[in-house]
Amino acid sequence: MSALRFADIAGWRAAAADQDPIAAARTMAEAAQPALNALITPAVVTGPHTATAGGALAGIPYAHKDLFCTAGLRTTAGSRMLDGFVPPYDATVSARLDQAGAVCIGKANMDEFAMGSSNENSAFGAVRNPWDLQRVPGGSSGGSAALVAAGIVPFATGSDTGGSVRQPAAFCGVTGFKPSYGRISRYGMIAFASSLDQAGVIARHARDCAEVLNCLAGFDPRDATSVERPAEDFVAACDRGVRGLRIGIARELYSAGIRSEIADCTRAALAELERAGALLVDIELPRLQLSVPAYYVIAPAEASSNLARYDGVRYGHRAEAARDLNDLYARSRSEGFGTEVKRRILVGTFVLSAGYYDAYYLRAQQVRRLIAEDFARAFAGVDVIAGPTTPDVAFRIGEKADDPLAMYAADINTVAVNLAGLPAISVPCGFVDGLPVGLQLIGPAWGEASLFAAAHGYQQISDWHFRTPQFGAGVPS
């Protein structure tokens, strides 16, 4: 049995004819765990899985980012704070995948509370990149991307607050999709920054992302930011083709920080799209460089408030023998949270505090509007916008661990999308230094259909997304 046969959802469906795909995925995940550390909690084996009748993803195994609550299955958000937390309820995303018949094989490792872009900020240890075990898989959905890249599952869930689906997908050579804000319910997805967080999907190729999105998209009365829209078939949208598709290329997405080999790689991919009939149009996103500062005010501000509920009283880590109430709070939170989380809580507390609110938080929200307006103007003339997902390929574990600023700066091409609430996808488009490179396609709000047309169109004329790391070749036969 070839690795390719197992690579995507169709492959797994075909494999199900002669073996139990769930058992296969579990066996592979278990075998890969010492090398990748991609799972925090394997799901309890409950016997052979039979396909849920009629479910669109019946019998398909998946890895679930440990940010989504799963009833009866430990959910940690990568934090010591929630080490022993077993939610009494399912996130809407968990419930919808369950309804579709997909089977969760385990909870994927991640940066603590989704804060990070290397997966080094997990209380359960760093995840390794299957392309090079000395390198990070990206983050915060690092475990999800590593498992898909290694061919262990055909898809995994992720969440994307500032690039947390797209960046690890780029680093691991797989496809990572983030929908328009409001497309997928956030209910039960542990909050980092509520106005930026969206659930996403990591899979081998765009068409599989579309198939999963068909199951996840849709209004949820439990999320007041969930949007009621007519149902769309995103798989069908994949086949629209790229002929006549207008692809905007923004100079600002090729700023000085982008490594030239990465830029070249994505330009080559765009040239292929052009040969396939797409139109390349130069556009401008003049305030893109302000997106990192705006993001690193807004996201910590919201996080500082979202994480106030972890106080050791109702669930989660509670410090022993507290002297008084404030001691209980301070020690429970200090013991429960890692350094990056503390840093963001403190920054967020600062930018909202009396005397600084206007200069930091309010101003960041104003700049956010300017950035969103830049996108809106650009989309008046193009269907999608393209550029590199990341400035460079996956870096070495520990390389940036002491330099949060360098880590933040590398988010330059992804965070603006979240500020504006837009859909985007990262597709593999080549290799630099033997490591995968991602091409990011950004759509207008609710423009997922164009995005899938472009991404799938590209994957019809390329095969980067089917390249598997040496590591992932060892699938059971």
Binding site: F68, C69, M189, A301, T349
Partner: protein, 477 residues
């Protein structure tokens, strides 16, 4: 109060809105359940849970705004007020800050001495209630009950325009009557459905405002009056002793009848308000307001005026009949049957009915005799079937459940004798029975006439029409 000082008082009243479910979750708001049995996962702030606002709470706030002649905002914003406390599960309270749903408006109040004041309102905003800490249940620990957490509140903030405890209480009573009248609050002060914080300062008349102290959470009219009086005295005494007033939050100790400092301004909290990212702005249009206006009952002041001007009721009756909507509605229902007998209806509602309700300790909504039944009884007085005196007996029988007025009148044979022949017969018998008394009357002893009428009533077992009897006896003699 020393006449050289002027007190300045503003009130913040927390009106618990009478919704079935909580403001951001579907848990019940019923009072008095076992601890933590009315707490949804949203109320307990479990990771990933999200608030979804209750339409019922918003409709009630709009109705209040319209009733006090305020501006109801087309756009209002829920914000987070961040602070840690065990009864605040999320670590923030969702409240409205910069853009409340209701701004301005006023409430008219009448003092016990008959003086009228009009108290301007600053605003009224929606927020969620906190849970309850129990300090006496355990030796070394406090207990937290979250049943109340998430109960909808409308915080009504007055301008600092009151100058005595009596004015403050009159305003609070008027507000209490209004919210009950509107049916947006049950007004139950023992259960905390209507609670008050009072801001009190003193100054020399004409001088700028003095430093204020806030007295927290007073839950009876009497305590508000005493707490404010105490606080005014305390501040004047301090100022006259050359001390300065320190801004502080104080608690009223009812047992000791004094206020004491809870926290001073120095440790005032930095609440870091910011718009709740889980809750987009609440937008209301003209049609929302129109619908609320259509639901609005006639307001008590307008109804009082109508009772006086159109129905000709004395002020006392009109006041009494517009204190509570249920009484007023009962009275109005009677008028449907007896449009021309407003005064008769008012007398009976405030007389017989009120004492019967009072004797049995039941609310008018649960009256054993409903408005149409009582009106049917009064119709028999109006058409002279029975006398007012007999009607009281019939009413007592109706109260005891013996049937309708007509049925009781018939069963007991209580119809008034209005037949001239029958009454003439009774008069002839009287003349025969009491010749001496007749002679005295004829000799000019006017006083004996009442005796004769009394004898006639006795003979007719009270059923004679007194006026008719009177007239017939005089003309016969």
């Amino acid at each position: 109060m020393s006449s050289e000082w002027e007190a300045v008082i503003g009130l913040e009243v927390h009106v618990q809105l009478s919704t079935r479910s909580k403001i951001f979750s579907g848990a019940t708001t019923a009072y008095g359940a076992e601890p933590n049995t009315q707490v949804s996962f949203v109320d307990a702030a479990l990771p990933g849970t999200l608030p979804v606002p209750n339409r019922g709470a918003i409709e009630r706030a709009i109705e209040f705004g319209l009733a006090v002649g305020a501006t109801v905002a087309e756009r209002s914003v829920f914000a987070r007020k961040n602070y840690f406390y065990p009864d605040l599960p999320k670590g923030y309270q969702i409240s409205q800050y910069e853009l409340p749903i209701v701004s301005g408006g006023s409430v008219k109040a009448r003092l016990e001495d008959g003086r009228e004041i009009e108290v301007a309102l600053t605003r009224a905003h929606l927020e969620e209630d906190a849970g309850k800490s129990v300090h006496d249940a355990f030796h070394a620990a406090s207990g937290v009950d979250l049943n109340r957490a998430g109960t909808p509140l409308l915080e009504v903030v007055s301008e600092p325009v009151m100058h005595s405890a009596a004015e403050a209480v009159a305003y609070m009573k008027a507000l209490h009557r209004l919210v009950r009248w509107l049916g947006i609050c049950d007004g139950n002060m023992q259960e905390g459905s209507f609670r008050c914080d009072a801001n009190v300062s003193v100054r020399r008349p004409g001088a700028p405002l003095g430093t204020r102290n806030e007295i927290k959470n007073v839950n009876s009219f009497r305590f508000v009056e005493k707490a404010i009086d105490y606080e005014i005295e305390r501040q004047i005494r301090a100022l006259e002793n050359g001390e300065t007033i320190v801004q502080a939050t104080r608690l009223y100790d009812a047992a000791a009848n004094r206020t004491r400092t809870m926290r001073s301004k120095e440790d005032a909290l930095d609440y870091r308000y910011f718009p709740d990212p889980d809750l987009p702005p609440l937008l209301l249009d003209a049609s929302d307001l129109e619908r609320a206006r259509a639901r609005l009952p006639e307001l008590p002041d307008a109804r009082r005026r109508r009772f006086i001007e159109q129905l000709g009721l004395p002020e006392y009756d009109a006041d009494k009949l517009t204190e509570e909507r249920a009484w007023s509605d009962y009275f109005e229902s009677m008028l449907q049957v007896l449009p021309a007998q407003a005064k008769l209806c008012a007398n009976w509602v405030l007389g017989e009915l009120a004492s019967a309700l009072n004797a049995d300790q039941i609310a008018i909504e649960d009256s054993r005799v409903d408005a149409s039944a009582l009106a049917a009884l009064l119709a028999r007085i109006a058409d002279q079937t029975i006398s007012g005196k007999i009607a009281k007996d019939v009413f007592a029988a109706m109260w005891a459940g013996e049937g309708t007025a007509d049925a009781i009148i018939d069963a007991r044979g209580l119809r008034q004798i209005t037949d001239d022949g029958a009454l003439a017969g009774a008069i002839e018998a009287l003349i025969a029975q009491f010749p001496e008394q007749i002679a005295k009357y004829r000799a000019g002893d006017e006083k004996i006439f009442q005796f004769l009428i009394g004898q006639l009533m006795k003979a007719t077992r009270g059923k004679a029409n007194p006026a008719q009897l009177n007239q017939m006896l005089r003309s016969r003699l």
